[in-house]
Assembly symmetry: C2
């Protein structure tokens, strides 16, 4: 086996820097494939392939306009990542809280020894 399939979950889809670049450029708004190719200086097939992966996990949606295909960001699909990360944000905050308590204790001890 290798890494779990890139098409199966958002974490893997976003792990690739090129795909993050595509999402970044789409955050400015809907764009055609050719526009992304120009903006990011990637080959057209690569862009199409990455868009396919992003599409399969729902991070982008697509709409046809003539012979163009306009891709749009679906930020709501980042929610699993956000939720997962949120737990660690809290862990970080708790550590900061503990640090606060520690500093407070230090100050109180100082005050007691001062008086």
């Amino acid at each position: 086996m290798a890494r779990s399939s890139t098409t199966s979950d958002v974490f893997n889809a976003v792990a690739e820097a090129r795909r993050r670049e595509i999402l970044d450029t789409l955050s400015a708004g809907e764009k055609a494939v050719g526009t992304i190719v120009e903006d990011l200086a990637m080959s057209q097939p690569q862009v199409s392939k990455h868009l396919r992966v992003l599409s399969e996990v729902g991070l982008v949606s697509c709409r046809a306009e003539g012979r163009r295909r306009l891709y749009r960001l679906e930020p709501a699909r980042l929610r699993p990542m956000h939720d997962w990360l949120a737990r660690y944000e809290q862990a970080r905050d708790e550590r900061l809280d503990r640090m606060d308590d520690y500093l407070k204790d230090l100050r109180e001890k100082e005050n007691r020894s001062d008086s």
Copy 2:
């Protein structure tokens, strides 16, 4: 080439579900390798290998205690992911704002036609 090295950035390190499980179990506090092996029912070499990857991107730190090695979560290293995600949180909020504006407009038009 394949995907950019898993050892080089946090996004790739976290893309693997097994490694997220390890981080999850470490969020309860410092744990020895053997404890992780029991808790997650993974093989000891796999745990050690995943810990190595996590260690190389700084997501965990290690401290020796006798013949044990205690690993600890370093949640601050998730910051790059958090920062990247934050931009999309804003995009989502902006979409909600636009929705708000749209609904406000609707109400105002209704009010004008009512009077």
